[in-house]
C-alpha cells in the first residue's frame, strides 16, 4: 500500500517535468488532447544551432551567477566574521540591518538601484547586474557566514593562538577548513539567486546583458509553449544540478553545526 502511494506521489511530482519535456519534442498541442503530438526537433535545433542568443544567454547567466556567487560570498563572510562576535541581545538588530534588502519591496528597491546605476553608468553592463544581484544575495551569504563562524568553538582559536599561530596561519589552517563547506553552500545559494532572478537583470541589464530568464520571459508572456519548455528544462536542470552537487560536497565537508535565521 505504501509503495503505491509513494508511486503516485512520485508520478504527480514528475508529471510537470514530463509534460514540459514532451512539449520540447512535440509541436502539436490542440485543446483538448491530453499529450502533445507530431515529433519535432525544431526547438532543440533552435536552442543549440539556429538561435545564437539562446546558448549565449545561458553562458551569460552562468557567468553572472559565478561572479555573484563568489563576490557575495566574500562580502557576506567578511561581514559574518565581524558580526558573529555580537552579543546575544543585539542579535535581532544586527539581523535586521544585514537583511535590509529583504524587507524592501523588490520593485521599489531596484528602481532606486537603477537610478544610482544610471549615475555611475553601470546600466547595461555585467558589473551593474552583478552589483544588483549582490544586493539581493548578501543578506543570505552574511547569514550563512554568521552561522558558520558561530559554529567554530572559541577554544579552538584560543588554543591555536596559544601555541603561536598568527593571524594568517590561523585563518589558513584553522578557520578556512572549518568554513569551506559554508563558502560552497553560500556560493551555490548566491549563484541560484542570481541565476533565477529576472527583474534586477532585466532592469539593470537593459536588454544588453541577456540572461536566460530575460530570454524566457517573453516566450512565457506569449504562451509559446515549445520555446518556453525548452528554455525551462535547461533552466531547471542547471539549477537542480548545481544545488545537489554542491549540497553533496558540502555535507561531506561539514564539521560544525549551523542554524540559519535563528
Amino acid at each position: 500500500m505504501k509503495k503505491i502511494i509513494t508511486g503516485i506521489i512520485i508520478l504527480l511530482i514528475s508529471l510537470p517535468m514530463i509534460l514540459t519535456f514532451l512539449l520540447t519534442v512535440f509541436t502539436y498541442y490542440k485543446y483538448p488532447q491530453l499529450l502533445p503530438s507530431q515529433l519535432t526537433f525544431e526547438y532543440w535545433n533552435n536552442f543549440f544551432f539556429k538561435n545564437p542568443l539562446m546558448i549565449r544567454s545561458v553562458l551569460n547567466s552562468l557567468f553572472l551567477g559565478l561572479m555573484n556567487g563568489t563576490s557575495s560570498t566574500i562580502v557576506g563572510f567578511m561581514a559574518g566574521r565581524a558580526l558573529s562576535k555580537q552579543k546575544e541581545n543585539r542579535h535581532t538588530r544586527t539581523m535586521l540591518l544585514y537583511s535590509l534588502p529583504l524587507f524592501i519591496p523588490a520593485t521599489a528597491l531596484f528602481i532606486g538601484v537603477h537610478l544610482i546605476m544610471l549615475r555611475l553608468s553601470f546600466t547595461n553592463t555585467y558589473l551593474g547586474v552583478v552589483l544588483a544581484h549582490m544586493v539581493l544575495s548578501v543578506p543570505y551569504s552574511t547569514n550563512i557566514g554568521i552561522s558558520f563562524f558561530k559554529g567554530i568553538p572559541s577554544e579552538m582559536e584560543q588554543v591555536a593562538r596559544t601555541i603561536g599561530c598568527r593571524d594568517f596561519n590561523l585563518f589558513k589552517k584553522v578557520i578556512l577548513p572549518l568554513i569551506t563547506p559554508g563558502l560552497l553552500f553560500s556560493g551555490s545559494i548566491c549563484f541560484l539567486l542570481s541565476f533565477s532572478d529576472y527583474f534586477a537583470a532585466a532592469l539593470i541589464g537593459g536588454g544588453k546583458v541577456i540572461t536566460l530568464s530575460a530570454l524566457l520571459y517573453p516566450y512565457i508572456n506569449n504562451a509559446d509553449y515549445g520555446n518556453s519548455a525548452t528554455l525551462g528544462i535547461v533552466f531547471v536542470s542547471i539549477n537542480i544540478g548545481v544545488f545537489f552537487i554542491t549540497e553533496r560536497i558540502t555535507k561531506r565537508l561539514t564539521k560544525v553545526n549551523t542554524y540559519l535565521f535563528e
Binding site: 514540459t20 567578511m78 566574521r81 565581524a82 523588490a106 521599489a108 533552466f235
Partner: protein, 292 residues
C-alpha cells in the same frame, strides 16, 4: 555604559557590505525621494513639492491597487507559513526515513525552481486550456472549455497566490525544520510523558520556541510577495493590478512628466511595505507565542 571599543579589523570586515548597502540602497532611496518631491535638476525641475504624492492619494485606482497588493501578499504569506510550519513539524516527528528523505528533496526542489518556471507550469496546468481542464473534458466532467473556472488571469489573483504559495511553502518549511531540529527533544519527551498530544506539543513548545525564525522568514516572504513584479504581471489581469507591476509600467513610461509620480509611488510602496511588514511580523509572533 562602558566604553565601546570597535576594532579596526571589524570596520574593515564590514566595509564592503556597508559600501554596497550605503551606495545602492541608501543612495538609491535618497535619489528616489528627491525625484518624488519634484527635484530633478537635470530636467530643470528645482522646486520641492508634495503635489505628486497628493495626486496619487486622490487616485482611486491607487487605493484599489494597494488593497489588492496587500491582499495577495497577506494571503500567500499566511498560507505558505501555515503549510510550511505544519510540513516541517510533521517531517520532524516522523520516523519513516523514506518519507522524510523524499519530502526533504521535494521541498529543496521547490525552493530552487525559478519563479518564471513555476509561472509557466501554472499556466500549463491550470489555464483555461491547461492540462487539468483537458483531463476534465476527456473524462466528460465538464462539457466545454467554458465550464472550467478561471484560475489564472482571474480578478482574484488565484494564479498569483498559487505561485507564491508553491514557492513560499518550501522556503518556510526548510528554515523552520532547521530551527525545530535544534530544539532539544527533552521538552518533547517530558510533554509526552505528561500526556500532551502532538498538537499541544506543537502549539505549546515548538511554536513559541521557533517564533522568532517563523515570524522573520514569514515577514521576508510577505515583503517578497508584496514587491515582486514578474509574477503578478504575467498572471494578472488589467482590472486588478498590484502596486509593483503598476509602479514598474509607470517607471518605464517614456513621458518625462511621469517621473516624479512614479517616484512618489515608489516611496509610498516602500513606506506602506515597511509599515505593513512590521505589523505583520508582530501579529504573527504574538500568535505563535500564544499571548505571552
Amino acid at each position: 555604559m562602558g566604553k565601546r571599543i570597535i576594532h579596526k579589523k571589524t570596520i574593515l570586515l564590514l566595509l564592503p557590505i556597508l559600501l554596497l548597502y550605503g551606495v545602492f540602497i541608501g543612495g538609491g532611496l535618497l535619489g528616489v525621494l528627491f525625484e518624488s518631491l519634484g527635484y530633478i535638476p537635470s530636467l530643470g525641475l528645482n522646486n520641492l513639492t508634495l503635489e505628486h504624492y497628493l495626486d496619487i492619494f486622490l487616485d482611486r485606482r491607487f487605493i484599489e491597487s494597494l488593497f489588492f497588493s496587500l491582499y495577495i501578499a497577506l494571503a500567500s504569506a499566511l498560507i505558505s507559513t501555515i503549510l510550511g510550519v505544519l510540513i516541517a513539524y510533521r517531517l520532524m516527528i516522523t520516523t519513516n526515513r523514506l518519507w522524510r528523505y523524499m519530502t526533504d528533496r521535494v521541498l529543496q526542489i521547490g525552493l530552487i525552481l525559478p519563479y518564471l518556471y513555476v509561472v509557466f507550469l501554472t499556466m500549463l496546468f491550470l489555464g483555461k486550456t491547461g492540462f487539468i481542464s483537458r483531463i476534465f473534458l476527456n473524462f466528460s466532467w465538464i462539457s466545454s472549455l467554458e465550464d472550467f473556472p478561471r484560475f489564472v488571469f482571474d480578478p482574484y489573483g488565484f494564479g498569483i497566490i498559487l505561485v507564491y504559495v508553491l514557492k513560499g511553502t518550501p522556503f518556510i518549511a526548510l528554515f523552520v525544520l532547521n530551527i525545530m531540529s535544534s530544539i532539544s527533544t527533552t521538552y518533547h519527551q517530558v510533554a509526552t510523558t505528561l500526556g500532551a498530544t502532538e498538537s499541544d506539543i506543537l502549539r505549546k513548545i515548538y511554536l513559541p520556541l521557533a517564533a522568532n525564525t517563523i515570524s522573520w522568514t514569514s515577514a521576508i516572504l510577505f515583503t517578497y510577495d508584496l514587491g515582486a513584479f514578474e509574477v503578478p504581471y504575467l498572471l494578472g489581469t488589467n482590472k486588478a493590478v498590484t502596486l509593483s507591476s503598476w509602479l514598474y509600467s509607470l517607471y518605464l513610461n517614456p513621458h518625462i512628466s511621469e517621473i516624479p509620480a512614479s517616484m512618489a509611488m515608489n516611496i509610498l510602496l516602500l513606506t506602506i511595505g515597511a509599515l505593513s511588514v512590521m505589523i505583520y511580523r508582530w501579529v504573527i509572533k504574538s500568535i505563535l507565542m500564544g499571548g505571552r
